[in-house]
Amino acid sequence: MKSIVFIEKNPVTGKLRNVSIELTYKAYSLSKPLKGEVIGVFAGDALPEDTDRLFQYGLDRLLYFTDERLKHLHSIAYKHILKAMIKSEEPDIVLFGATHTGRDIAPLIASSLKTGLTADCTQLYVEDYKDKGKILFQVRPAFGGNILATIITPDNRPMMASVREGVMLLPEKHPNHPVKMESFPVDFNESWIKSEFLSVVPKVKKVDFNSAQTIVSGGAGVGSADNFRLIRELANALGGEVGASRAAVDFGFVDKDHQIGQTGSVVRPKLYIACGISGQIQHRAGMEESQKIIAINKDPEAPIFKIAHMGVVGDVNEIIPVMLRYLKEEG
């Protein structure tokens, strides 16, 4: 099982995107037991500043091509270059981060290689399938998250999949070995540049779920933007980050950056406190892997209690102030 991972740089920070590291390790765990190589492919204006981090997650080789003209997402140029890299290696598996960049380029490549691409996988594993030998099983939610489908690409190679950031776990201990860097020759064709980037404005990121151990989230049940202050206070008291359901965002209680779920961020903190959130499937899709889930909700039948470890049936606006008081007392 030879795997290729699309290595992506965050254009704002100049560093590796976490999902590239997560997928490198995933590819390592899929390929290594079968003695397969894990190869990264990168195209861009310059290598990510922290390319070295790939050393620690099982990458064997990195094929790269750098050129000033790749500063921006010129989809067609990226397609040609990455496709050439992939073809030169004939891998079994190709993994892309389901970022706005990965989801732009991966379908172009799959189309042009005439192979299958499974979007937004939440689980990937390799197993024997009939007379096909070992293939990739790709599990993904479908129908708005109401079902889980296992998709296979039995007859084509490579088998391609995309995965969102935060879905695949990183290990505590890393397989540490040096990566062989290989500059990949490309005969750059000017006609690949079809768009003109007039301006690029970084989005101001106000939320950092990645390093948050604790997330306190508020939903429609919080009732008002004013009450949402309690969510922030509880998050502060616990040294955590503020999350929200889509309903809370739609009601304007809090900014969209805080949204957790299928159309927001996927988080996996150690402690997740859901306040006034019913726990619809689209919300659960972003948080159910949290280690401990605490639910505060007026409705004892709310689905959130089905996945919670601790629960209180009651009004968030009465309970949180009491919690804050005791938290102060406990120091």
Binding site: T118, F143, G144, H309, Y326
Partner: protein, 285 residues
């Protein structure tokens, strides 16, 4: 003057999945779900109409789907589409994005002279966001995905905003180009009353009986359908046959329920809750 194609899909309303929408075997009972115009595709259609209204041209809406999908084409006519095409054939069933994009791309090539293709960012049944780019690849157009605003356009180029996740990009492209449109881009217009009166009887040909047919024809009520043979398609690249991905199994999501510890709302209960939280907090950190 631009020839603009909009790719639109009829999808089950996955946002309102109720109990009976799931069959006992864990598969989806599509019949129990209302079918709607894929939300993102309405923004694509609105953008197409806005461009045509200003610089002239033609808006063609195409959908690949069962005969019932004519409903969204009718809605497109109400909103102001000039022409609609229903690509329908049993042999298209169970197409994945590769097979779907093949059929749509061939249709666009058949139409000929297309300057602009607009697709939704993604369809809410599969959420793959792949069909747009895969069509772009097959027709050899430039592509811009995640378009969140149309800033400027004329006969020679357009300028759009792209939601690049960590940054907002302002991009200029000449034609031909394919864009995938997000819900931020605009507000789709309501159906036009005059056009509703004009097209309220629009339907596929087989739904008119012989006595109605000539009236249907003269009133432009017939939603044209195209089958595999009409489009000279390679059968091996359509439907299940042309789809490299296969569904191996499907499981409906059941909540397990389990080790849940409940607390009362009295101050002592909350105090205990805070203790337990802090304990977890210490344990896990």
């Amino acid at each position: 003057m631009k020839k603009i194609v909009v790719l639109a899909k009829q999808v089950p309303d996955t946002a309102n999945v109720t109990g009976d929408a799931m069959k006992a075997d864990g598969t989806v009972n599509r019949a129990a779900l209302p079918a709607i115009f894929n939300p993102d595709d309405l923004y694509a259609l609105e953008m197409a109409l806005a461009i045509r209204d200003k610089i002239g041209g033609e808006v063609v809406v195409i959908t690949m789907g069962p005969p019932k999908a004519a409903e969204i084409l009718k809605h497109s006519l109400y909103m102001g589409a000039d022409r609609v095409m229903l690509i329908t054939d049993r042999k298209f069933a169970a197409a994945d994005t590769l097979a779907t994009s093949y059929v749509l791309a061939e249709t666009i090539k058949k139409i000929g002279g297309v300057d602009l293709v607009l697709a939704g960012r993604q369809a809410i049944d599969g959420d793959t966001a792949q069909v747009g780019p895969q069509v772009a690849d097959k027709i050899g157009f430039n592509q811009i995905t995640y378009v969140s605003a149309l800033r400027e356009f004329n006969d020679n180029y357009l300028i759009v905003e792209r939601d690049g996740e960590v940054q907002t990009e302002v991009i200029k492209s000449s034609y031909p180009v394919l864009l995938t449109i997000t819900g931020q881009a605009n507000t789709p217009r309501y159906p036009n009353c005059r056009r509703m009166l004009q097209y309220f009887r629009a339907d596929v040909k087989e739904n008119f009986n012989d006595s109605e047919l000539s009236a249907a024809e003269s009133n432009d009520w017939i939603i044209p359908t195209y089958a595999l043979a009409d489009l000279d398609l390679d059968e091996d690249r359509c439907g299940l046959k042309g789809s490299p991905t296969k569904v191996h199994k499907i499981k409906s999501i059941m909540l397990k329920g389990g080790d849940l510890k409940m607390y009362g709302t009295k101050p002592t209960n909350i105090k205990q809750l805070v203790r337990d939280i802090t304990k977890v907090y210490v344990e896990v950190n």
